[in-house]
């Protein structure tokens, strides 16, 4: 981590903008991100060459977006975040009525030539809106002050659940908690909320759709799911089919990962990857682990850790509260998404359908990752002189 003392003296205004932009390209973050993208492209090239080519184009678009985001000062962006957040909510409502339904879920919205998932945008918007709301407040340190941040989170969460996209929706909760916690919320208040959440789990469970319950069953009791005891004990129900399919997915994934051994089977030599469903999106790690082995997994994990460390360093070095919260939010989003995806592929978590950041194939996912990274690094490009004399506490 660079220290304040080591920073050079302020240059003239014209040159300082570009120098700040260049300084924002923090290799502690960009390095791991680009490396992860590269690993993802290699895995895709091995699995679906056509998809790898498309992913390369999406990466280029993502990097362009990243650079565009870097140019605009984040404080200016935050000034517009409430209207932007409202637009996001409107999009989330629109997708329920006009969205494209795929695999029984309505998640895609087509705006002219662009098709995208508003829920992906909502993740970034939530981080930004929370950062804007919390930055100069202290009332979130009271139980009453938690109401607004929770409302800001629960509204998009409910709309995303309605799609349904439970995996993405649940991503928002740790982001909220982490940002509140980083901003100085009282742990006992957060514990109380968590306790209330735990107590409401039975209600939430019975409010889930049958296939969502079946996924939990499949994770909790794979054997029962294999013999066809579904959520309602009805072997012929669609939920049972989902449960069996999920168990099947995880079994295939775990076997493929194991097939990699220490050094992997080599590029294009994976045998099991063709038998893993969604191998280019949700289970891209499986393809990678089979062909690169444990050493490859170690490398990938190291890069994920380095990315989080880089973002944590930015969050630590920045003094402006919104900047800190943006960095923390980005770190938590990347971290939780990676943890859930990786845990799912190795059989430690139920299947949620979350992509692995920077690796999984998909335009929306790639653009969102670069957008979020752009926001996180933007705070370095447009650092104010001094805004806070002391930390959140």
């Amino acid at each position: 981590m660079t220290s304040e003392a080591a920073r050079p003296a302020a240059p003239s205004l014209a040159t300082s903008r570009w120098r700040h932009l260049v300084a924002a390209l923090d290799l502690r973050v960009l390095g791991p991100a680009l490396a992860l993208v590269t690993l993802g492209l290699i895995a895709l090239a091995s699995d679906r060459p056509a998809a790898a080519a498309a992913q390369l184009r999406w990466t280029a678009a993502g990097v362009t977006l990243f650079l565009a985001v870097l140019v605009v000062p984040y404080r200016r962006m935050l000034q517009l975040i409430y209207p932007a957040f409202a637009v996001t909510l409107v999009l989330l409502v629109l997708v329920l009525f006009f969205g494209r339904t795929t695999n029984q879920a309505t998640r895609w919205l087509s705006l002219g030539p662009i098709g995208f998932q508003p829920s992906e945008v909502a993740k970034v918007a939530l981080v930004a809106v929370l950062a804007r709301y919390i930055r100069f407040r202290r009332d979130h340190r009271t139980i009453k002050g938690l109401v607004v941040p929770f409302l800001l989170t629960l509204v998009p969460l409910a709309l995303i659940v309605k799609q349904p996209d439970l995996g993405t929706a649940l991503m928002l909760v740790p982001v909220l908690f982490a940002m509140l916690w980083a901003a100085g919320a009282q742990p006992r208040h957060l514990r109380t909320v968590v306790l209330l959440g735990v107590l409401s789990l039975p209600i939430v469970y019975f409010g889930l759709k049958p296939y969502q319950r079946a996924r939990i069953h499949a994770f909790a009791a794979p054997v029962a799911a294999m013999v066809g005891i579904g959520a309602d004990g009805d072997a012929s129900s669609g939920a049972s089919t989902v449960a069996r399919a999920d168990t099947y997915h995880v079994e295939r994934s775990v076997t493929a990962i194991a097939a990699g051994g220490l050094t992997g089977s080599g590029f294009g030599e994976g045998l099991v990857k063709n038998r893993v469903p969604e191998s280019s999106t949700d289970f891209v790690f499986t393809v990678f682990a089979e062909e690169w082995g444990f050493l490859g997994v170690l490398l990938l994990m190291g890069l994920e850790c380095a990315l989080l460390l880089g973002l944590a360093s930015i969050a630590r070095e920045e003094k402006e509260p919104a900047a800190r919260l943006l960095a923390v939010g980005a770190m938590v989003l990347f971290g939780v998404q990676a943890c859930v995806n990786l845990a799912m592929t190795v059989g430690l978590a139920p299947i949620t359908g979350l992509p692995l950041p920077f690796l999984s194939y998909g335009g929306s996912s790639m653009l969102t990752c670069w957008l979020l990274l752009g926001l996180a690094l933007n705070v370095r490009a447009h650092r104010p002189v001094v805004f806070a004399e002391r930390d959140f506490d």
Partner: protein, 661 residues
Amino acid sequence: MYELRLKRLLIAFYVVFGVILAQAFALQIVNRDEQMARLDDMLKRNFLVQARRGDIVYTDGTPMATNEPGFRLEVAFGDLDDRMLPTLRELEAVFRSRPTDDPGIQEQRVALHERLARWHERRAKKGYGTRWMCSACGDQVKSAGPPSADERCRDCSIAPTWEELPRPTIGGLAALVERSPDDLRLALAVALGRLERLPDHRLHALLVGVPREAAEAIAIEPRSFAGFEAHARPSRWVDGPARTIVGGTRLPSREDLTALSNPDRAAVDRHVFTDAEVYSTLVGSSRLEAMWDDELRGVPGRADRPIVLKRGAEVETIVERAVQDGETLHTSISRSVQELANEIVVSEPRAAAASAVVLDVRTGAIVAMASHSGDGMDHARSNVMPGSVWKLITAVATLDSGISAEDTVVCRKRGSIPGGMRYKCEGHHYDIDLRTAFEKSCNGYFAQRAAQVGPDAMASAARRLGLAGGFELGLGTRDVGPAGLEWTSPDIEDERRRWFPTDMAYIGIGQGKASCSPLQLVLAYARLAADGRMIEPWLLERKRRDVVETDPVLARHAPVLQDAARRVVVSGTGRRQAALADVSAAGKSGTAEVGFDLEKNNTWFVGYAPHHAPRYAAVVVFEGMPTGTHGASEAGDPVGRLLAAALGAVRATESEGPDDE
């Protein structure tokens, strides 16, 4: 505090990553062998080697029932990889490129062309359209025409160049043709439109005449034809004349699945089938096919073949369980005699039903057994009113009761007997003895004798002649006629079936409550011809029974009765039948009056030949013939021809013997 919280957050993520890494380590390093065992299971294709259903054969080894040369092949068009399939037009080109002078093939090609055109038309009407592939990501859409230039791909959201894909389903059959180049029928069958829709929206086609090797090769290596699932399924061929003996087969039902997959089968050393095994086989539905289904079905083999994704890699099939083809059932049926018997039973258009049986007098082997009727029953083993052919039983009962063959009774054209029963005869026979009565089929004599000896003596005679019990032929029914002893039993509640003294006049002449099957009756005459040896009929070699006993009563009286039977052919009712004389036969005719107003006749003739050294016995019966028909005139000649055929067959076999040596 902020930095501490940040650090804790980071540590929390690292801990989770650590757990995931530990899990990956456990999978890839520690428990890898265990996982690789599962990988082996995942990367091998387990397939069935269908057992060949056993043959049922004639005495000369030619098949009564066998699998068609080849197998049926079920092709299910599942996840077809369109990019790997040749087009339908290419398939047509394959056919057209094969030169042939066979007019049948030429006709098929014309028909193929027409049906393919109709197939295209139907698809177009249903809006099936063509598949189009996104050039960027490979995603596919289906539409009647090419997507518009600005239509975006759902997957990658760009407007790509759309590539037209070949039509799925039928196109891949060209690959099958190449796999089995000598068998045009394979592709023709499918291309001719035998595609059917299954409940789960798959298409399948049953292809007849596919060589077993080709069917199995496709079943083993479906990857050669991406998206195909193929199952070999045998097709059963049954010789026409043998249908009433062989029975039929059918595709398995859910009940068959339950029965064949019942673990209790293992307790009786039967193979317990899996669902797949049951559904890929045929099940016997009647007669020999049903009764010997377990033996005929065999046990499917099971084998694994590793799936190797690299081209050119050599793989070895691992046989888990060797296939056991079904057993062959050897029958006692002579093909030539059976063909004649079948020809005879279908040749009489006036008859409601007809049946014929030929029995080997020496061994009891059933040489031929044919039946023809509209009700689908096997009339050779069904009870029929016998008429005068039954008089042999009355004659045996008479002699067994101590009455001499020379003792006479008075016969008038119409008369009555003690007890008030009346009879009618063909003529005034006055004082008539047993031989003459048998020769002239005198109703007066046999009606009076039956009434004289009573039900017990008649039942005893019936038992001696083989009418009392059932035969276990292996055809699924043990009882082939009413049991003789049962007829007199007071335990029988249904009085219509019990014999009373007042019934005996009619029973004595084969009317009233008398009934037996043609098989039983020919057995009775065969025992007479065999000098009272207690032969039993058999149909399958494995059910063959050697004759060891001789009935002393039959043996004592056989010369008298044989003489009487011979006189029937020489100077009696059968004297005008040249075919009987040609084979030096002896026998008896019978005409039973049946129907509500006795307006129909069952015309019988039963005989054996040659009379001096009997070798075969035969019976022919035409049921429900019009009034005025007679047993000898209708059935005598066919019996003579059957006996001649049987004797000719045995002579041919005997003459071939020395040549073979």
